[in-house]
Amino acid sequence: MAIEKVLGIETEYGVAGGPDQDPILASSIIVNAYAQQGASRINWDFEGETPDLDARGLPGLTSFAPIVETHLANTVLSNGARLYVDHAHPEYSSPECRTPLEATLYDVAGEEVLRRALSAANASLDDADAITLYKNNSDGKGNSYGTHENYLVSRHVDFAEVVRAMVPHFVSRQVVVGAGKVGAETDDASSHSPAFQLSQRAEFFEEVVGLETTLKRPIINTRDEPHSDAERFRRLHVIIGDANMSQFATFVKLGSTALLLAVLEDRGASVFPPPPRYPVRAVRHFALDPTLQAVEVGDDGVAYSAWDLQDALWHLAQDYVATSGASAVAPEAEVAEILTQWREMLDGVRVDPASVADRVDWAAKERILRGYQERHDLRATDARLRAIDLQYHDLRPERSLSSRVGLRRIVEPAQVRQAVHNPPRSTRAFFRGRCVERFPDEIVAANWDSLVFDLGDGPLQRVPMMDPLRGTAALTENLLETSTSAADLLRALDG
Protein backbone atom coordinates (compact mmCIF):
# COMPACT_ATOMS: atom_id res chain seq x y z
CA MET A 1 0.00 0.00 0.00
CA ALA A 2 1.21 3.48 -0.87
CA ILE A 3 1.93 5.50 2.24
CA GLU A 4 0.46 8.94 2.77
CA LYS A 5 2.48 11.44 0.77
CA VAL A 6 3.61 14.00 3.31
CA LEU A 7 5.42 16.66 1.29
CA GLY A 8 6.86 20.16 1.17
CA ILE A 9 9.23 22.52 -0.67
CA GLU A 10 12.43 24.25 0.45
CA THR A 11 13.31 27.39 -1.49
CA GLU A 12 16.59 29.29 -1.49
CA TYR A 13 15.79 32.82 -2.61
CA GLY A 14 18.18 34.83 -4.73
CA VAL A 15 19.33 37.93 -2.82
CA ALA A 16 20.97 41.13 -4.03
CA GLY A 17 21.92 44.50 -2.56
CA GLY A 18 22.27 45.04 1.17
CA PRO A 19 25.14 46.65 3.13
CA ASP A 20 28.45 46.10 1.32
CA GLN A 21 26.56 43.92 -1.18
CA ASP A 22 27.26 41.04 1.20
CA PRO A 23 24.73 38.27 0.47
CA ILE A 24 25.26 36.46 3.78
CA LEU A 25 24.70 39.67 5.73
CA ALA A 26 21.70 40.56 3.56
CA SER A 27 20.21 37.09 4.09
CA SER A 28 20.72 37.39 7.85
CA ILE A 29 19.07 40.81 7.89
CA ILE A 30 16.09 39.35 6.04
CA VAL A 31 15.67 36.43 8.45
CA ASN A 32 16.24 38.59 11.51
CA ALA A 33 13.82 41.24 10.28
CA TYR A 34 11.08 38.65 10.13
CA ALA A 35 12.00 37.06 13.46
CA GLN A 36 11.99 40.46 15.15
CA GLN A 37 8.46 41.13 14.00
CA GLY A 38 7.59 38.70 16.74
CA ALA A 39 7.02 35.83 14.39
CA SER A 40 9.48 33.65 16.24
CA ARG A 41 12.80 33.80 18.02
CA ILE A 42 13.27 30.12 18.49
CA ASN A 43 16.50 28.59 17.33
CA TRP A 44 16.74 25.67 15.02
CA ASP A 45 18.13 22.54 16.63
CA PHE A 46 20.75 20.75 14.54
CA GLU A 47 20.58 17.56 16.61
CA GLY A 48 20.48 14.67 14.17
CA GLU A 49 21.24 16.99 11.31
CA THR A 50 24.68 18.45 11.89
CA PRO A 51 25.75 16.75 15.09
CA ASP A 52 28.66 19.05 15.84
CA LEU A 53 26.39 22.08 16.12
CA ASP A 54 23.95 22.76 18.90
CA ALA A 55 21.40 25.51 18.69
CA ARG A 56 21.88 26.46 22.32
CA GLY A 57 25.45 27.42 21.49
CA LEU A 58 24.33 29.90 18.87
CA PRO A 59 24.02 33.63 19.38
CA GLY A 60 20.56 35.09 19.82
CA LEU A 61 18.56 36.32 16.89
CA THR A 62 17.87 39.79 18.13
CA SER A 63 20.82 41.78 16.88
CA PHE A 64 22.52 42.54 13.60
CA ALA A 65 25.90 41.39 14.80
CA PRO A 66 28.65 40.99 12.21
CA ILE A 67 28.15 37.70 10.46
CA VAL A 68 31.20 35.48 10.39
CA GLU A 69 29.62 32.24 9.30
CA THR A 70 26.44 30.91 7.84
CA HIS A 71 23.82 29.06 9.88
CA LEU A 72 23.50 31.99 12.24
CA ALA A 73 20.07 33.36 11.55
CA ASN A 74 17.83 30.39 11.90
CA THR A 75 14.30 30.30 13.17
CA VAL A 76 11.06 28.36 13.36
CA LEU A 77 7.82 30.06 12.41
CA SER A 78 4.39 29.68 13.94
CA ASN A 79 3.20 28.10 10.69
CA GLY A 80 5.66 25.26 11.27
CA ALA A 81 8.15 26.40 8.62
CA ARG A 82 11.85 27.05 9.05
CA LEU A 83 13.33 30.37 7.91
CA TYR A 84 17.11 30.62 7.91
CA VAL A 85 20.31 31.53 6.13
CA ASP A 86 21.60 28.69 3.99
CA HIS A 87 24.99 29.43 2.48
CA ALA A 88 24.42 32.89 1.05
CA HIS A 89 20.65 32.77 0.61
CA PRO A 90 17.59 33.18 2.79
CA GLU A 91 15.77 29.85 2.72
CA TYR A 92 12.17 29.07 3.55
CA SER A 93 11.46 25.40 4.23
CA SER A 94 7.74 24.89 4.23
CA PRO A 95 6.08 22.90 6.98
CA GLU A 96 5.23 19.28 6.23
CA CYS A 97 1.93 19.15 4.36
CA ARG A 98 -0.44 16.33 3.63
CA THR A 99 -1.56 17.09 0.07
CA PRO A 100 -0.11 18.82 -3.01
CA LEU A 101 -2.64 21.65 -2.73
CA GLU A 102 -1.77 22.24 0.90
CA ALA A 103 1.95 22.21 0.06
CA THR A 104 1.27 24.73 -2.71
CA LEU A 105 -0.48 26.99 -0.20
CA TYR A 106 2.52 26.85 2.15
CA ASP A 107 4.93 27.51 -0.70
CA VAL A 108 2.95 30.62 -1.62
CA ALA A 109 2.84 31.56 2.08
CA GLY A 110 6.64 31.38 1.96
CA GLU A 111 6.67 34.05 -0.75
CA GLU A 112 4.53 36.23 1.50
CA VAL A 113 6.84 35.62 4.48
CA LEU A 114 9.84 36.71 2.40
CA ARG A 115 7.94 39.70 1.01
CA ARG A 116 7.11 40.84 4.54
CA ALA A 117 10.68 40.20 5.67
CA LEU A 118 11.96 42.24 2.73
CA SER A 119 9.67 45.13 3.53
CA ALA A 120 10.63 45.11 7.23
CA ALA A 121 14.34 44.84 6.41
CA ASN A 122 14.33 47.66 3.88
CA ALA A 123 12.44 49.93 6.26
CA SER A 124 15.52 49.80 8.50
CA LEU A 125 18.10 50.26 5.73
CA ASP A 126 19.26 53.26 3.72
CA ASP A 127 17.89 53.28 0.18
CA ALA A 128 21.39 52.67 -1.15
CA ASP A 129 21.57 49.47 0.91
CA ALA A 130 18.13 48.18 -0.04
CA ILE A 131 17.86 44.42 -0.48
CA THR A 132 16.06 42.65 -3.33
CA LEU A 133 14.82 39.04 -3.38
CA TYR A 134 14.08 36.65 -6.23
CA LYS A 135 12.30 33.31 -6.28
CA ASN A 136 14.43 31.81 -9.03
CA ASN A 137 17.30 29.35 -9.39
CA SER A 138 20.13 30.97 -11.27
CA ASP A 139 21.93 34.28 -11.70
CA GLY A 140 22.54 33.85 -15.42
CA LYS A 141 26.27 33.63 -14.77
CA GLY A 142 26.67 29.97 -13.91
CA ASN A 143 25.59 30.06 -10.27
CA SER A 144 22.55 27.99 -9.35
CA TYR A 145 20.69 27.56 -6.07
CA GLY A 146 17.95 25.21 -5.21
CA THR A 147 14.25 24.62 -4.88
CA HIS A 148 13.99 21.17 -3.33
CA GLU A 149 10.86 19.10 -2.97
CA ASN A 150 10.50 16.45 -0.28
CA TYR A 151 8.18 13.45 -0.37
CA LEU A 152 7.58 10.78 2.23
CA VAL A 153 8.19 7.39 0.63
CA SER A 154 7.92 3.91 2.05
CA ARG A 155 11.24 2.41 3.15
CA HIS A 156 10.08 -0.83 1.52
CA VAL A 157 10.71 0.54 -1.94
CA ASP A 158 14.23 -0.31 -3.05
CA PHE A 159 16.17 2.80 -3.98
CA ALA A 160 17.13 1.36 -7.37
CA GLU A 161 13.40 1.17 -8.09
CA VAL A 162 12.97 4.83 -7.21
CA VAL A 163 15.68 5.68 -9.73
CA ARG A 164 14.24 3.43 -12.43
CA ALA A 165 10.70 4.79 -11.97
CA MET A 166 11.33 8.49 -11.41
CA VAL A 167 14.09 9.43 -13.88
CA PRO A 168 11.63 9.62 -16.82
CA HIS A 169 9.50 12.12 -14.89
CA PHE A 170 12.37 14.22 -13.61
CA VAL A 171 13.94 14.68 -17.04
CA SER A 172 10.63 15.46 -18.78
CA ARG A 173 8.35 17.32 -16.36
CA GLN A 174 10.02 20.62 -17.30
CA VAL A 175 7.76 20.82 -20.38
CA VAL A 176 4.90 21.53 -17.97
CA VAL A 177 6.53 22.95 -14.85
CA GLY A 178 9.80 24.52 -16.07
CA ALA A 179 10.20 28.17 -15.11
CA GLY A 180 12.00 29.16 -18.32
CA LYS A 181 15.26 31.01 -18.76
CA VAL A 182 16.88 33.42 -21.19
CA GLY A 183 20.12 32.06 -22.65
CA ALA A 184 22.53 29.52 -21.20
CA GLU A 185 25.30 29.44 -18.59
CA THR A 186 27.23 26.21 -18.73
CA ASP A 187 29.72 25.47 -21.50
CA ASP A 188 27.66 22.60 -22.81
CA ALA A 189 24.37 24.49 -23.07
CA SER A 190 26.08 27.68 -24.28
CA SER A 191 27.55 25.79 -27.23
CA HIS A 192 23.97 25.59 -28.57
CA SER A 193 23.42 29.37 -28.13
CA PRO A 194 19.78 28.99 -27.06
CA ALA A 195 17.68 32.16 -26.90
CA PHE A 196 15.48 30.49 -24.30
CA GLN A 197 15.36 27.27 -22.26
CA LEU A 198 12.41 25.53 -20.61
CA SER A 199 14.15 25.21 -17.26
CA GLN A 200 16.31 27.31 -14.97
CA ARG A 201 18.03 24.24 -13.60
CA ALA A 202 18.32 21.57 -16.29
CA GLU A 203 21.75 22.54 -17.63
CA PHE A 204 23.29 22.27 -14.15
CA PHE A 205 22.70 18.53 -13.80
CA GLU A 206 25.71 16.30 -14.32
CA GLU A 207 24.93 12.88 -12.82
CA VAL A 208 21.99 10.49 -12.70
CA VAL A 209 22.32 9.49 -9.04
CA GLY A 210 24.40 10.96 -6.23
CA LEU A 211 24.64 12.63 -2.86
CA GLU A 212 25.81 16.08 -3.94
CA THR A 213 23.62 19.14 -4.34
CA THR A 214 26.15 21.85 -5.17
CA LEU A 215 28.66 20.06 -7.42
CA LYS A 216 27.99 17.23 -9.83
CA ARG A 217 24.28 17.70 -9.21
CA PRO A 218 22.37 14.44 -9.67
CA ILE A 219 18.90 13.97 -11.18
CA ILE A 220 18.12 11.67 -8.23
CA ASN A 221 19.58 12.81 -4.92
CA THR A 222 20.47 10.06 -2.47
CA ARG A 223 20.50 12.07 0.73
CA ASP A 224 19.02 9.67 3.25
CA GLU A 225 17.91 11.86 6.07
CA PRO A 226 14.28 10.95 6.68
CA HIS A 227 13.69 13.30 9.65
CA SER A 228 11.34 10.55 10.82
CA ASP A 229 11.34 6.86 11.64
CA ALA A 230 14.04 5.53 9.30
CA GLU A 231 12.75 1.98 9.49
CA ARG A 232 9.44 2.96 7.92
CA PHE A 233 10.16 6.04 5.87
CA ARG A 234 12.39 7.57 3.28
CA ARG A 235 12.33 11.25 2.44
CA LEU A 236 12.86 11.56 -1.30
CA HIS A 237 14.81 14.80 -1.69
CA VAL A 238 14.17 16.11 -5.20
CA ILE A 239 16.69 18.75 -6.22
CA ILE A 240 15.88 19.00 -9.93
CA GLY A 241 12.87 21.34 -9.75
CA ASP A 242 12.59 25.00 -10.72
CA ALA A 243 11.07 27.55 -8.36
CA ASN A 244 7.64 28.28 -9.79
CA MET A 245 5.82 31.60 -9.70
CA SER A 246 2.70 29.94 -11.13
CA GLN A 247 0.70 28.33 -8.34
CA PHE A 248 -0.74 25.84 -10.80
CA ALA A 249 2.76 24.83 -11.85
CA THR A 250 3.73 24.21 -8.22
CA PHE A 251 0.52 22.23 -7.73
CA VAL A 252 1.08 20.05 -10.81
CA LYS A 253 4.78 19.61 -10.03
CA LEU A 254 3.94 18.30 -6.56
CA GLY A 255 0.79 16.45 -7.58
CA SER A 256 2.25 14.60 -10.55
CA THR A 257 5.35 13.57 -8.60
CA ALA A 258 3.36 12.43 -5.56
CA LEU A 259 0.98 10.41 -7.74
CA LEU A 260 3.85 8.68 -9.52
CA LEU A 261 5.51 7.84 -6.21
CA ALA A 262 2.26 6.25 -5.07
CA VAL A 263 2.15 4.27 -8.34
CA LEU A 264 5.70 3.11 -7.65
CA GLU A 265 4.83 1.98 -4.12
CA ASP A 266 1.75 0.06 -5.24
CA ARG A 267 2.77 -1.28 -8.65
CA GLY A 268 6.56 -1.24 -8.77
CA ALA A 269 8.95 0.37 -11.24
CA SER A 270 8.32 -2.00 -14.14
CA VAL A 271 5.07 -0.24 -15.13
CA PHE A 272 6.89 3.05 -15.79
CA PRO A 273 7.98 4.23 -19.24
CA PRO A 274 11.65 3.55 -19.99
CA PRO A 275 14.21 6.08 -18.82
CA PRO A 276 16.37 7.72 -21.47
CA ARG A 277 19.56 5.81 -22.17
CA TYR A 278 21.49 8.99 -21.31
CA PRO A 279 19.38 10.86 -18.71
CA VAL A 280 21.76 13.79 -18.19
CA ARG A 281 21.98 14.46 -21.89
CA ALA A 282 18.19 14.09 -22.12
CA VAL A 283 17.31 16.61 -19.41
CA ARG A 284 19.63 19.20 -20.95
CA HIS A 285 18.55 18.46 -24.51
CA PHE A 286 14.86 18.72 -23.66
CA ALA A 287 15.44 22.07 -21.92
CA LEU A 288 17.06 23.51 -25.03
CA ASP A 289 14.00 22.92 -27.19
CA PRO A 290 10.87 24.99 -26.42
CA THR A 291 9.29 23.55 -29.60
CA LEU A 292 9.20 20.21 -27.71
CA GLN A 293 10.38 18.25 -30.74
CA ALA A 294 13.67 17.01 -29.26
CA VAL A 295 13.84 13.25 -28.77
CA GLU A 296 16.14 10.96 -26.80
CA VAL A 297 16.50 7.23 -27.12
CA GLY A 298 15.06 5.26 -24.23
CA ASP A 299 16.37 2.11 -22.62
CA ASP A 300 14.11 0.19 -25.02
CA GLY A 301 15.77 1.69 -28.10
CA VAL A 302 12.76 3.83 -28.98
CA ALA A 303 13.06 7.63 -29.32
CA TYR A 304 10.84 9.69 -27.01
CA SER A 305 10.28 13.41 -26.65
CA ALA A 306 9.82 14.89 -23.18
CA TRP A 307 6.19 15.37 -24.13
CA ASP A 308 5.85 11.67 -25.03
CA LEU A 309 7.24 10.70 -21.64
CA GLN A 310 4.88 13.06 -19.83
CA ASP A 311 1.96 11.72 -21.84
CA ALA A 312 2.86 8.13 -20.88
CA LEU A 313 3.32 9.11 -17.23
CA TRP A 314 -0.01 10.94 -17.18
CA HIS A 315 -1.79 7.84 -18.51
CA LEU A 316 -0.05 5.71 -15.91
CA ALA A 317 -1.18 8.06 -13.14
CA GLN A 318 -4.69 8.27 -14.55
CA ASP A 319 -5.04 4.50 -14.67
CA TYR A 320 -3.79 4.25 -11.10
CA VAL A 321 -6.27 6.85 -9.91
CA ALA A 322 -9.12 5.11 -11.76
CA THR A 323 -8.34 1.80 -10.07
CA SER A 324 -7.01 2.77 -6.64
CA GLY A 325 -8.34 6.28 -6.00
CA ALA A 326 -4.92 7.52 -4.86
CA SER A 327 -6.11 8.47 -1.38
CA ALA A 328 -2.44 8.35 -0.31
CA VAL A 329 -1.93 11.55 -2.31
CA ALA A 330 -5.06 13.61 -1.68
CA PRO A 331 -8.86 13.49 -1.40
CA GLU A 332 -10.67 12.44 -4.57
CA ALA A 333 -11.55 15.91 -5.86
CA GLU A 334 -8.00 17.16 -5.46
CA VAL A 335 -6.55 14.11 -7.21
CA ALA A 336 -8.98 14.71 -10.08
CA GLU A 337 -7.82 18.33 -10.27
CA ILE A 338 -4.16 17.25 -10.43
CA LEU A 339 -4.93 15.02 -13.42
CA THR A 340 -7.07 17.67 -15.12
CA GLN A 341 -4.52 20.44 -14.78
CA TRP A 342 -1.57 18.25 -15.70
CA ARG A 343 -3.44 17.12 -18.85
CA GLU A 344 -4.54 20.62 -19.87
CA MET A 345 -1.07 22.07 -19.40
CA LEU A 346 0.47 19.16 -21.31
CA ASP A 347 -1.93 19.51 -24.24
CA GLY A 348 -1.62 23.28 -24.15
CA VAL A 349 2.16 23.43 -24.44
CA ARG A 350 2.05 21.16 -27.47
CA VAL A 351 -0.68 22.98 -29.41
CA ASP A 352 0.07 26.58 -28.42
CA PRO A 353 2.10 27.44 -25.31
CA ALA A 354 0.47 30.87 -25.13
CA SER A 355 -2.86 29.10 -24.50
CA VAL A 356 -1.56 27.93 -21.11
CA ALA A 357 0.49 31.04 -20.33
CA ASP A 358 -1.93 31.56 -17.43
CA ARG A 359 -0.50 28.43 -15.72
CA VAL A 360 2.81 27.39 -17.30
CA ASP A 361 5.68 29.60 -16.14
CA TRP A 362 7.96 29.10 -19.13
CA ALA A 363 5.09 29.82 -21.51
CA ALA A 364 4.16 32.99 -19.61
CA LYS A 365 7.77 34.14 -19.63
CA GLU A 366 8.39 33.28 -23.28
CA ARG A 367 5.24 35.15 -24.31
CA ILE A 368 6.33 38.44 -22.79
CA LEU A 369 9.94 38.00 -23.89
CA ARG A 370 8.92 37.45 -27.49
CA GLY A 371 6.40 40.29 -27.40
CA TYR A 372 8.91 42.70 -25.87
CA GLN A 373 11.63 41.68 -28.28
CA GLU A 374 9.37 42.27 -31.27
CA ARG A 375 8.03 45.57 -29.99
CA HIS A 376 11.49 47.06 -29.47
CA ASP A 377 13.23 45.07 -32.20
CA LEU A 378 15.83 43.72 -29.77
CA ARG A 379 18.64 41.25 -30.34
CA ALA A 380 18.28 37.96 -28.45
CA THR A 381 21.22 38.96 -26.24
CA ASP A 382 19.77 42.34 -25.16
CA ALA A 383 20.08 42.97 -21.41
CA ARG A 384 16.43 44.04 -21.25
CA LEU A 385 15.38 40.47 -22.02
CA ARG A 386 17.54 39.18 -19.20
CA ALA A 387 16.06 41.86 -16.95
CA ILE A 388 12.56 40.61 -17.82
CA ASP A 389 13.66 37.07 -16.93
CA LEU A 390 14.99 38.25 -13.57
CA GLN A 391 12.06 40.51 -12.75
CA TYR A 392 9.62 37.71 -13.52
CA HIS A 393 10.85 36.25 -10.20
CA ASP A 394 11.21 39.58 -8.36
CA LEU A 395 9.53 39.73 -4.94
CA ARG A 396 9.22 43.52 -4.91
CA PRO A 397 5.57 44.22 -5.74
CA GLU A 398 6.53 47.31 -7.73
CA ARG A 399 8.98 45.33 -9.90
CA SER A 400 7.41 41.87 -10.07
CA LEU A 401 6.44 40.73 -13.56
CA SER A 402 4.92 37.34 -12.71
CA SER A 403 2.22 39.17 -10.73
CA ARG A 404 1.34 41.14 -13.89
CA VAL A 405 1.23 38.47 -16.59
CA GLY A 406 -2.19 37.04 -15.71
CA LEU A 407 -1.22 33.85 -13.87
CA ARG A 408 -4.25 32.12 -12.35
CA ARG A 409 -4.41 31.52 -8.61
CA ILE A 410 -5.22 28.18 -7.03
CA VAL A 411 -5.12 29.54 -3.45
CA GLU A 412 -6.84 32.72 -2.33
CA PRO A 413 -4.99 35.64 -0.71
CA ALA A 414 -7.00 35.20 2.50
CA GLN A 415 -5.85 31.57 2.72
CA VAL A 416 -2.26 32.69 2.20
CA ARG A 417 -2.50 35.25 5.01
CA GLN A 418 -3.82 32.49 7.29
CA ALA A 419 -1.01 30.15 6.26
CA VAL A 420 1.65 32.75 7.01
CA HIS A 421 0.76 32.42 10.71
CA ASN A 422 -1.01 29.09 11.14
CA PRO A 423 0.40 25.61 10.57
CA PRO A 424 -1.23 22.95 8.42
CA ARG A 425 -3.60 20.90 10.58
CA SER A 426 -2.72 17.67 8.83
CA THR A 427 0.82 16.84 10.05
CA ARG A 428 3.19 17.20 13.00
CA ALA A 429 3.84 20.75 11.77
CA PHE A 430 0.63 21.61 13.62
CA PHE A 431 2.14 20.66 16.97
CA ARG A 432 5.44 22.42 16.17
CA GLY A 433 3.79 25.61 14.99
CA ARG A 434 1.28 25.84 17.82
CA CYS A 435 3.92 25.13 20.48
CA VAL A 436 6.13 27.84 19.00
CA GLU A 437 3.22 30.23 19.18
CA ARG A 438 1.99 29.24 22.65
CA PHE A 439 5.25 28.59 24.50
CA PRO A 440 7.99 30.66 22.83
CA ASP A 441 9.79 31.23 26.13
CA GLU A 442 10.00 27.56 27.10
CA ILE A 443 11.04 26.12 23.73
CA VAL A 444 14.80 26.45 23.38
CA ALA A 445 15.15 24.59 20.10
CA ALA A 446 13.10 22.93 17.42
CA ASN A 447 13.70 20.84 14.36
CA TRP A 448 11.69 18.64 12.01
CA ASP A 449 11.39 15.68 14.35
CA SER A 450 11.55 17.13 17.86
CA LEU A 451 11.00 20.10 20.15
CA VAL A 452 13.21 20.88 23.13
CA PHE A 453 11.65 22.53 26.19
CA ASP A 454 13.43 24.26 29.05
CA LEU A 455 11.07 24.72 31.99
CA GLY A 456 13.82 26.32 34.03
CA ASP A 457 13.70 23.85 36.92
CA GLY A 458 15.34 20.72 35.54
CA PRO A 459 17.02 19.15 32.55
CA LEU A 460 15.96 20.07 29.02
CA GLN A 461 13.08 17.93 27.79
CA ARG A 462 12.99 16.73 24.21
CA VAL A 463 9.61 15.84 22.69
CA PRO A 464 10.24 13.51 19.76
CA MET A 465 7.98 13.64 16.70
CA MET A 466 9.22 10.75 14.61
CA ASP A 467 5.98 10.22 12.71
CA PRO A 468 5.07 13.13 10.39
CA LEU A 469 1.41 12.09 10.58
CA ARG A 470 1.18 12.41 14.33
CA GLY A 471 1.08 15.76 16.07
CA THR A 472 -1.85 16.76 13.85
CA ALA A 473 -4.67 19.05 14.92
CA ALA A 474 -6.93 16.02 15.31
CA LEU A 475 -4.51 14.48 17.80
CA THR A 476 -3.13 17.48 19.66
CA GLU A 477 -5.37 20.53 19.33
CA ASN A 478 -7.47 19.68 22.35
CA LEU A 479 -4.39 18.94 24.45
CA LEU A 480 -2.76 22.23 23.40
CA GLU A 481 -5.89 24.23 24.16
CA THR A 482 -6.37 22.74 27.62
CA SER A 483 -2.72 23.07 28.64
CA THR A 484 -2.24 26.38 30.40
CA SER A 485 1.55 26.14 30.46
CA ALA A 486 4.39 24.24 28.83
CA ALA A 487 4.78 22.25 32.05
CA ASP A 488 1.12 21.32 31.82
CA LEU A 489 1.54 20.19 28.24
CA LEU A 490 4.61 18.08 28.98
CA ARG A 491 2.85 16.43 31.94
CA ALA A 492 -0.11 15.60 29.74
CA LEU A 493 2.15 14.18 27.01
CA ASP A 494 3.87 12.02 29.62
CA GLY A 495 0.63 10.72 31.00
Binding site: G14, D86, Y134, K141, N143, S144, T213, R367, A387, L390
Partner: protein, 43 residues
Amino acid sequence: MSIDTTKGEQLKADLDDLLDEIDEVLEENAEEFVRNYVQKGGE
Protein backbone atom coordinates in the same frame (compact mmCIF):
# COMPACT_ATOMS: atom_id res chain seq x y z
CA MET B 1 -15.40 38.17 -37.95
CA SER B 2 -14.99 34.67 -36.59
CA ILE B 3 -14.87 34.00 -32.89
CA ASP B 4 -11.27 32.83 -33.21
CA THR B 5 -10.19 36.08 -34.83
CA THR B 6 -11.93 38.12 -32.14
CA LYS B 7 -10.25 36.08 -29.45
CA GLY B 8 -6.89 36.41 -31.21
CA GLU B 9 -7.25 40.18 -31.38
CA GLN B 10 -8.25 40.35 -27.74
CA LEU B 11 -5.14 38.36 -26.79
CA LYS B 12 -2.97 40.71 -28.81
CA ALA B 13 -4.54 43.75 -27.15
CA ASP B 14 -3.95 42.15 -23.75
CA LEU B 15 -0.33 41.53 -24.62
CA ASP B 16 0.08 45.13 -25.81
CA ASP B 17 -1.25 46.42 -22.48
CA LEU B 18 1.05 44.05 -20.65
CA LEU B 19 4.07 45.21 -22.64
CA ASP B 20 3.18 48.84 -21.83
CA GLU B 21 3.22 47.91 -18.18
CA ILE B 22 6.53 46.10 -18.51
CA ASP B 23 8.01 49.23 -20.07
CA GLU B 24 6.96 51.06 -16.91
CA VAL B 25 8.28 48.65 -14.29
CA LEU B 26 11.40 47.30 -16.00
CA GLU B 27 14.60 48.47 -14.29
CA GLU B 28 15.77 51.65 -16.04
CA ASN B 29 19.33 50.45 -16.40
CA ALA B 30 18.80 46.86 -17.44
CA GLU B 31 22.44 46.32 -18.28
CA GLU B 32 23.65 47.26 -14.80
CA PHE B 33 20.72 45.54 -13.08
CA VAL B 34 21.51 42.25 -14.79
CA ARG B 35 25.28 42.60 -14.38
CA ASN B 36 24.97 43.26 -10.64
CA TYR B 37 22.85 40.19 -10.02
CA VAL B 38 25.55 37.73 -8.97
CA GLN B 39 24.77 34.89 -6.57
CA LYS B 40 26.88 32.60 -4.55
CA GLY B 41 26.01 28.96 -4.95
CA GLY B 42 23.64 27.41 -2.50
CA GLU B 43 21.94 24.10 -1.69
